[in-house]
């Protein structure tokens, strides 16, 4: 008795699932199952555009020539990257020094709260520190966009 009831329930469930599937259009093809999907083509499995560029050939002299060219390009890119890294390093090192000295300067200014000249120098130092820090961060950011990771770290922010 129980077995009969269960089979009947299963039958009802199957029929109900079929109706829902048809109504929502939820077919296996639409959900992406079964067929391969080319990345970037949103399920469009048609062939992409033809390769761009010049056929460089596969013979040994041609491959050697290509290897030589790639080596040159890599060296040039490395040089550029190293120059950028050094420039950023120098910039950030200067920024760190500016902010360090600004802290010392403002510590002295704190001992002379009534003297405008000390306060003015402290404010100027704070402004220079902020500008220097942002230029360091910009340099590191630009470099990080070009490369995988940042070459140097920005100096710590000063809250004073």
């Amino acid at each position: 008795m129980t077995r009969y009831t269960l089979s009947r329930t299963s039958l009802h469930a199957g029929v109900l699932w079929g109706i829902v599937s048809i109504a929502t259009g939820c077919t296996p093809t639409a959900s992406g199952g079964g067929k391969p999907v080319t990345p970037g083509l949103r399920g469009d499995t048609r062939e992409g555009p033809d390769p761009i560029g010049v056929q460089e050939g596969d013979s040994v002299p041609e491959l050697e020539k290509r290897l030589e060219r790639l080596r040159g390009e890599q060296a040039a890119r490395m040089d550029d990257a190293m120059a950028d890294t050094q420039a950023c390093h120098d910039l950030c090192s200067l920024s760190a020094s500016i902010c360090e000295v600004q802290v010392k300067l403002c510590d002295i200014a704190d001992r002379h709260p009534q003297e405008g000249s000390y306060q003015a120098l402290c404010r100027e130092g704070q402004q220079e520190c902020q500008e220097a820090m942002s230029s360091c961060e910009d340099c590191v950011g630009e470099h990080a966009e070009d490369d995988a990771g940042p070459p140097v770290s920005a100096p710590p922010a000063d809250d004073s």
């Binding site: 910039l91 200067l94 020094s97 120098l121 100027e124």
Partner: protein, 190 residues
């Protein structure tokens, strides 16, 4: 002239002498006050952040110039293995070397030597000596080379001035070093 009269004259002279000496003492006290006022004035003076700079144009290499730079490099290396007074003496030898004509880079080399000496002096609680060494080289009225070495020397002078309680000199010198480094930073950004 009677002896009592002579005695009176002698007493008068002695009194006069005492007054003069006392007056001299007063003068001495007054001078002391002036000195004290000057010290007070120097600590409460306005900081001078004036910065005059000049660029060092690389010179044409000469045998004398090269020999000088090599000698300084050797002295720097020698000082690397020394400490305290010995290192100061060695570096001072470098500072005393005669600079050949037509070597503008020597100004930077000398600032580097002076900074290093000043750093060692500050470490050994001789900040006043460090200040004495650096002040003539870095006076606000004097143009300094636009170089990181000048900025370092200015920072060192600021530290020495701070240690000796000369806040005006310290603040002015720190401000000048910040200005110097800002110029260098802007040049790097170009």
């Amino acid at each position: 002239m009677s002896s009592s009269r002579i005695q009176r004259i002698a007493v008068l002279c002695a009194t006069l002498g005492t007054v003069v000496v006392a007056a001299c003492d007063d003068d001495a006290d007054a001078e002391g006050e002036v000195v004290h006022t000057e010290v007070a004035a120097s600590t409460s003076a306005t900081p001078d952040g004036t910065l005059k700079t000049h660029e060092i144009v690389p010179s044409t290499p000469s045998a004398e110039g090269l020999a000088y730079l090599r000698a300084v490099a050797a002295i720097q290396r020698e000082a690397d293995d020394q400490r305290g007074a010995a290192a100061v003496a060695t570096l001072q030898r470098g500072l005393d070397l005669e600079v050949p004509a037509g070597l503008p880079e020597a100004e930077i080399v000398q600032l580097e030597l002076a900074s290093r000496i000043a750093g060692l002096l500050i470490e050994s609680d001789a900040a006043a000596e460090a200040k004495e060494l650096l002040v003539p080289m870095l006076e606000p009225s004097r143009s300094v080379p636009l170089d990181r070495a000048s900025a370092e020397a200015l920072i060192m002078l600021g530290d020495a001035a701070t240690r000796t309680g000369d806040d005006a000199l310290a603040a002015g010198t720190y401000a000048r070093s910040i200005r110097m480094m800002s110029i260098l930073r802007q040049e790097l950004e170009r």
